[in-house]
Amino acid sequence: MNKKIAKKSNIRILDGNQAAALGAKLSRVQVIAAYPITPQSPVTEKLSEFVERGELDAQYIAVESEHSALAVCVSASMVGARTFTATSAHGLAYMHEMLHWAAGARLPLVMACVNRAMGAPWNILNDQQDSISQRDTGWIQIYARNNQEIIDSVIQAYKIAESIYVPVMVCYDGFILSHTEMPVDIPAQEDVDKFLPPYKPHTVLDPANPRNYNLVTLANPRVNSEGVLCHGYMELRYLLQEALQNSKETMIKVGQEFGQLFGRNYANMCWEHRLDDADVVIVAMGSLAMEATVAADMLRKAGHKVGVLGLRVFRPFPKTEVVKVLKNSCLVVVFDKNISYGLEGATCSEIKAALYGSPVRAAIRNFIVGLGGRDIKARELVDAVNRSLLSMKEGDLNKESPEWICDI
């Protein structure tokens, strides 16, 4: 008979940045390289404080750029150290080439991306354009809806990443979460130690057994000196995709284990709000999805059967879950805090792609909201859903372009 683990709660009022920093600290990261950028700066400051106080035994490298930050994490991870970085917007963009590199090198890096708008022109406030723009790089992407999810996701990220050697990006909304305080149950260090086994690198950097990592690779497979046919570039890329496709299994398992130890279950790729009998489903990510639950409740009061599908994991995209949840819907309203210029909001495109070929015949409406920190209120989301309901009378399943909500 297993002894029930007493879940000691340790609730503190934390902002999102503090939650992220604590998540890294509890995960006993060993090398930190994070260049300051609004609204992430408190994360790197907090971590340097932990290190200087002797509370966290880590090498804090005061890098001179985000590109270097990720380069430090990449090679430290190859040596066998657990690493952490955090950034936003232009910092994430600056390390773009390194994002590709880290994924291709199959390194279990974990990063916090504090979502912020991209310039030009300059804007330091929240939207999700930065991380959305990186969705093709081969990183797992998790979007936290509140500060509890931030700390929980950072800790789980290490277990996920180190099991399958795929880097993980934990995204959370700048200012809305990063600088907003809310109650967070801080996991106990001894429980995190139980949860996270030590990191075992797949890379060997040992003069007694010399290996060269990530050399030029040809298009076609090539035989090594022992006559073994080794991968061409495309095979290595396939293996990364396969790892991401299969990562869902690991994420669910890790989420389940996390639930057993800490009392909060993450055995899901999405979370649901009043979806049981919903025929109108709102889809969103991060804190926006939380706002959507308020809108859904308002719409329910007005007699509509509305629920919310919160996409917690964006990469790998939870195709099966989306199809399952939207099975009985007649209207899907997707709110995107980003836009893929020339097309539409990224989440909307991906929902449509997931639904193609499935029996779902729901109408889909896309709204671009909240760019550059433009405040988006529940009542505006309600209006958008009402407008969408009206527009369904035209019979269009799809619209040419997304609608923008720019109300002040």
Binding site: V31, I61, S77, V79, M98, N212, L218
Partner: protein, 303 residues
Amino acid sequence: MKVTAANLTEKEYLLPGNRTCPGCALALAYRHILKALEGQVIVTVPPSCLTVLHGMYPVTSVAIPCVNTPFASTAASASGLVAGLKALGKRGLTVLAIAGDGGTHDIGLQALSAAAERQTDFIYICYDNEAYMNTGNQRSGSTPLGAISGTTPILGKQQNQKDITAIMEAHNIPYIATANASHPLDLYEKVKKARAIQGTRFIHVFIPCPPGWGFSFKDTIKIGKLATETGWVILYEIENGVFRLTAASQSIAQRGSLKSLREYIQGQGRFKNITEEQIAELQRWVDARWKRCMARAGNSYSE
């Protein structure tokens, strides 16, 4: 005991049948750098001729652990190796960042400067063939005045090279040295000395390039030696601020004088369009730099 060809270790880390051009001074230099480190090293290298030397997946020509890294990040990658080793309590290995002049003077300068400012405990070697040779000889911040390159194809480069060791001197690091592949034992000694020093150590190695510079590959050593004899290359080291000429440069300072730079220039196809004014400017620059080095060495000689 001073190292000689006779007593130098025969252990090789560079394996035959690699992809370098015949007569490649980088291969020669790298051979001796690794001997000086006895292979107890983790190397990090950006895209460059050295990457090609290292080979193509799944086979490499060099028997040391190596981490490839994107172009701008060599010194940052090295910083990560150092941090990782320190975090894991692993001692005894040297972290060696080795990049070309492109990866050092130009795209990699920011990361190098920062790593030095952080007093990162590693050796950074710049192997300088004075252009972006791996991509086919485009001009770099180290290309000399008047040299033809892929991106200065007709008029030749209009500016002289930047002085990378002077830049590194501004970082207050414990060891800076210049070396020349044509003087492999001097290079070996400097790497060996650097190995034992803590902190950021920077070595600039002159690498004549036959296809890039336009001379026959049998003449690599000859061109390299001529560079030293004419003062284009000055062999020195600065250990905790103390300047010392070494090897052939020391001999020239004590016993002889520099040969005319023209002797060095005329043997290379890349200077085929150089003007008399440009030669004169380069000669003035070389003379002024030599005079400064002599004065600095003179100050150190008074022991």
